[in-house]
Symmetry: C2
């Protein structure tokens, strides 16, 4: 069977697709694995109870359950929920927004697929503009959105060592070049995979930079503020007409319901609606319906701040203790864990690639993600890329602890053997 | 804000997007409308009860409810459901398939977005192949998938008059040209909008034609067999490695859960999985989870054959009676209603365009869809295109009856006034 180039790319399992297949095969294979690789959120009992009660209420509330499944939402998504979200953000944060500034999507990956194609690629006045990623490492899921085209101009970060066991990436502002070849600036906050949280002043600088060049700032807040707010330092989240804020229900605990939100100016929202219509008719109704009451009464913020954030904050402290204990004799640094659900471990001078480490760990029954996949658009050789791994700390403590111990053993062996 | 060409297209509300906006505005506007325009399925009480019971069972079955929302499915979708669907079709219809032949998507529109781009557009050995649509009218949702590029080579049908009040389209086989510019053949069965059901022999001919030219036959069975099986004549549905069968839960009664199925050879399934991963990470879990038991025990076929098909069959008889009564003095023919949930009305010699009729009906509070939008890729002028409208008969009988009466009044006025 002959396929278009689009098809050739998709069925070749190239790029991240091969990695996803590999992870999927390991997860569903016959051998039990310690799954520290994926992005599944933790099962937080108090949060799960909220969703269960909400579904039960839907079932008890006349034909609301039937209305969820039985009708298409509009291309912009459930209009009651869009309205409620705008009201909530306007009231709590003073943002100057209305329902015309909110679109619902089939999850954050869908949002980014559309957004990156809205601002990267061919323009009527330019052969190919790109998305500027001011900081790598950056989210692995961005990489393949160009389907083989490189959509990104990416930058290495500045590295600040913190004590003996931690480090932190910063945006290298003096290096950034925003010119006519750039269509947008995009950044995740917290960063997936590193847990880095760009400071308010870094964000303010990026916002000013974007505005001064007439391009939007796309803020990936899948783990961030206002919800699920898995962010440990105190930060503010502003919004303006030039900011495109992307949110999701996934890390609130509902990844299976594939619900994303885009908060942006009306022109962007119209384009997102159009993309929804053409690619999916409409986004799914289940996620918005299940969380509607929590958005209407603002509980979604309380759940984030009072249940989700403290839960992960406690978890990350434990995980760091285990890492520091297990790797005390190794050149291991943890990226300052300011948010999200991962530890980003840097083994400086690792004599093997992170890809080989990933393979060895997989053979030992521990699934992580090799760090080299988190540098979308960065082609310059850089040893650091092959010295890091991403480890989820969202799973059961015993699994995380055991996984960390196996990682330490394999890294120790690599350093000892020099290969 | 500057947008790429992709963005310019999406935010311009061109093509079908403008129409969808118009319909959406009318539906959510202040004036009550008789909604005979959309594709929402009927609320069939016995079917709704099945879904309600299924959700209640999920809630009562340990942490199954938590598992739906709380984890990402793989890029191919819920593997238990994929496995069950393959087993069901193998057992009931003798198809030579396994779980490797099934992918789940975020609904049939998502399936078609991917499939049309898999087989239309640039190939490594050809600048631009197209999808051959052997028969128009054809589904409106196909039109914009090319985002401004015409992906289709389309054909006018042969028209068979049946008695004084009906007619039927047939594939004009002698006209079809399948050459090296064609990447796939696609057809909906039943056809949306006309309710036409291609006969087994027409499908066999298309299948042979596709195979002999080394291109796949894409069969859009969103309303068809094996489920929801809103098909009134007796037909068979075969599958082979060269057939790509697209199914959906929408017309089973769950459009809000956005769940589609693609049954195809392994190479196509791998490409669909890749597209899911890049565009959405994974398809939603709610639809597959809610229907898993029905797929496992085959009840999904019984629900289709015993509840859904008879329900629409009774409805369409009523609707035809109302049309024939209300339009007895008008040159109105109904396309032989063999399936799906629409009446396709042809007013031969209508002195106004169907678009103007649509506008006048909207002003009278009746929403239909103007027929001219259902000829994707057909550019040759043809009066017939402007003489038809699509009318849903899935809504409440009183609404359908009243709507038909208003349509008759407006059509009568147009013929009387000659404008």
């Amino acid at each position: 069977m002959r396929f278009s180039k689009f098809g050739d790319y998709l069925k070749a399992d190239s790029g991240i697709l091969g990695l996803m297949q590999d992870i999927d095969a390991a997860m569903t294979g016959p051998d039990p694995m310690l799954l520290l690789g994926g992005g599944n959120p933790a099962r937080i009992p108090a949060v799960q109870e909220v969703f269960r009660v909400s579904m039960q209420q839907l079932l008890n509330d006349g034909d609301r359950f039937e209305n969820i499944g039985g009708s298409y939402d509009g291309a912009k998504g459930d209009s009651v929920v869009g309205h409620a979200l705008a009201s909530l953000f306007k009231e709590r944060f003073g943002w100057d927004i209305g329902p015309e500034n909110v679109a619902i999507t089939n999850g954050s990956q869908s949002s980014f697929y559309t957004l990156f194609h809205l601002f990267a690629g061919e323009y009527s006045d330019h052969p190919f503009r790109k998305i500027l990623l001011p900081l790598t490492p950056e989210y692995i899921g961005y990489s393949d959105i160009g389907m083989g085209d490189n959509l990104f101009r990416s930058y290495q970060p500045a590295i600040e060592l913190q004590g003996n066991h931690e480090f932190k990436y910063h945006v290298n502002f003096e290096n950034l070049v925003v010119d006519d070849d750039i269509g947008a600036i995009a950044v995740s906050r917290p960063t997936n995979p590193t847990g880095n949280v760009l400071s308010d002043s870094e964000i303010a600088k990026l916002r000013a930079l974007a505005r001064s060049h007439g391009v939007p700032l796309i803020l990936d807040s899948a783990y961030g503020a206002p919800f699920p707010n898995i962010v440990f330092p105190e930060i503010t989240t502003d919004w303006d007409e030039n900011t495109i804020l992307c949110l999701s229900l996934s890390k609130l605990g509902l990844p299976g319901l594939r619900t994303g939100f885009v908060v942006a100016n009306e022109e962007v929202i119209r384009a997102i609606s159009g993309a929804n219509a053409i690619m999916a008719l409409a986004p799914g109704s289940a996620g918005p319906a299940l969380t509607r009451n929590m958005i209407e009464d603002g509980r979604i913020l309380d759940i984030s701040n009072d249940l989700i954030r403290p839960y992960y904050k406690a978890k990350v402290q434990n995980a760091m203790t285990w890492v520091n204990h297990a790797m005390h004799d190794l050149p291991c640094r943890i990226h300052s864990p300011e948010g999200a659900i991962f530890l980003w471990l840097w083994f400086e001078g690792l004599p093997i690639t992170s890809e080989l480490l990933y393979q060895r760990l997989k053979a030992r029954g521990v699934l992580v993600v090799s760090g080299e996949h988190f540098f979308p658009g960065l082609s310059a050789p850089w040893a650091h890329r092959q010295e890091c791994i991403r480890v989820s700390y969202a799973q059961e403590p015993s699994i995380v602890k055991k996984g960390i111990e196996v990682i330490a053993e394999e890294v120790r062996r690599a350093f000892h053997d020099g290969k």
